[in-house]
Subunit: 305 residues, 2 copies
């Protein structure tokens, strides 16, 4: 089934204890799309870049069969740029700069041929824009959305309205706590269900992810990587793997939602193995399947005696 991805496309400059990357391909829509493309087709991208956006990056996305008809290029503008530095423990980072550039006035116009997309994955953008996207889509089968501390703190009312029209909210643990003022993550997830989404996924970084619905609680581990080169995009790759698996299978049963969480975890684990999209760009479906099986080995145990 078709998957529409709306979010940012950026040029990231990242420093980690393991090295650095300059003006590397980044942004939520890129990580979501580059992860989902191994599972679902077509993957359609709606975003905006400036005239400075390298043709090589466009080529890379096209090679992964990502439909770029919805990517607006503003020749006289500059692409969104972000610079960040990760600390030694990789769990904290400093944003060095955030130049929104053309992304500041991003107005997602959904091309006619995208308006019947079955699955929609909304990257972390202004909740008003997330709603504007949905107003242009005809009855999507599932709307998956992300948000972040900035929108929770500064556009709380708009976010509440957007949550009412989201089916799945994917947030990290600190965002879930901030949104609900509830430290217990299971309670926080249930409160979010009360706000609209039927399905809540709480990402816990190195501790894995929690899937909560009215009926189900599922806990997926994180892949025990010994070296994380660059955590940038891990959360978006999770969303891409999750959305991609659901769009591929078009099955919203509890068992399949669990599988989707593990595919999300698998794609996130690949993402952080290299800088930018370096690991994501030439994955194979077989590698992803192998990683999925590694997650089974990592978390399964038998009934015992």
């Amino acid at each position: 089934m078709s998957l529409l991805v709306v979010g940012s496309v950026a040029l990231d400059s990242v420093e980690t204890p393991f090295g650095s990357a300059e003006n590397a391909l980044g942004g939520s829509a890129v990580f979501i799309g580059m992860s989902a493309c191994y599972l679902a087709a077509p993957v359609r991208l709606v975003a905006v870049v400036g005239g400075d956006f390298p043709k090589s990056h466009l080529k890379l996305l096209e090679e992964r069969s990502i439909d770029l008809d919805g990517l607006k290029i503003i020749p006289e503008g500059k692409t969104f740029r972000w610079g960040g530095r990760y600390h030694y423990d990789m769990n904290t980072r400093d944003s060095l700069y955030t130049d929104l550039n053309v992304f500041e006035h991003f107005d997602p116009v959904i091309p006619e041929q995208y308006r019947k997309s079955s699955y929609v994955c909304l990257g972390n953008i202004d909740p008003r824009l997330q709603r504007r996207v949905l107003e242009q889509i005809q009855k999507p089968r599932l709307v998956i959305g992300d948000t972040m501390n900035y929108w929770i703190q500064n556009t709380a009312e708009e976010l509440q309205k957007t949550l009412r029209v989201m089916d799945v909210l994917i947030v990290n643990d600190s965002e879930a706590r901030l949104l609900t003022q509830e430290p217990n993550l299971v309670k926080a997830a249930k409160r979010i269900i009360g706000l609209g989404p039927k399905i809540v996924i709480i990402k816990k970084g190195e501790h894995g992810a929690l899937l909560v619905t009215e009926e189900t609680i599922f806990s997926a581990p994180a892949y025990p990587l010994e070296t994380i080169y660059d955590p940038t995009g891990a959360g978006d790759s999770f969303a891409g793997g999750f959305a991609g698996w659901l769009a591929k299978t078009d099955d919203l049963s509890p068992e399949n939602l669990k599988r989707a969480v593990v595919y999300g975890s698998a794609l996130a684990s690949f993402c952080v193995e290299r800088f930018s999209v370096d690991r994501l760009k030439d994955l194979t479906y077989l590698e992803i399947k192998d990683r999925y099986r590694s997650f089974m080995e990592l978390s399964h145990f038998d009934e015992g005696t």
Copy 2:
């Protein structure tokens, strides 16, 4: 198989956002023993208390078939007392007082009839005392030990010597990082294996536990409790469930180690449901089995299509 437990027996006064308990039964040996007793037999306890230790607490331990021949009572002394207060998010606590009393000069003498114990679980005590215990035991099948920040920081050399004679080290994530100066938990576990223990378990509180051996990595989730009444003793209950299952089954295969980690997680999840040992004291084996199965539901997913 027999399980020898050595550690503290204490009177705890605890405040949490959900209430408080005064002079409640506590201490590492108590939580380990009260958890292991549902799985293994005999469970033998070596510890020390003062003349003020309530007879009702002794009765409770005896009712759970815990062998108290190794519990030394010093009539003129006072029992170890600890007071603590947990914060709203339950992840941090303040120690209000720590009165070691008779525990300050604890010298674990192992009764003759305990010296052939097959399984040994050493609660968090001075690493010198942990070694002194082991010197009195004849070829135990498995030595499981705990430690804490205090010993890592203040008796580093003694701890290194003790680690060389431990088979399993159970620590929490911050202790693992402190011991190895390595933020990545998988790397930290592998470094600990280099120090002696063949099996390392890293407890991550609300994020579950990690089992690492030369060949295996296993990630167990935490039980998604909505209300944690009192986290005191959760780590020791984990050790008790883990050690109890291994002593019951006498099987050190990777598959059985995984089961033991889940039994440990199950006992820890019961422990925090009430204050002190209130939930542990009248569990049934059936309840524990049911909780074990809940952990399967919580973490298992199938191969998919």
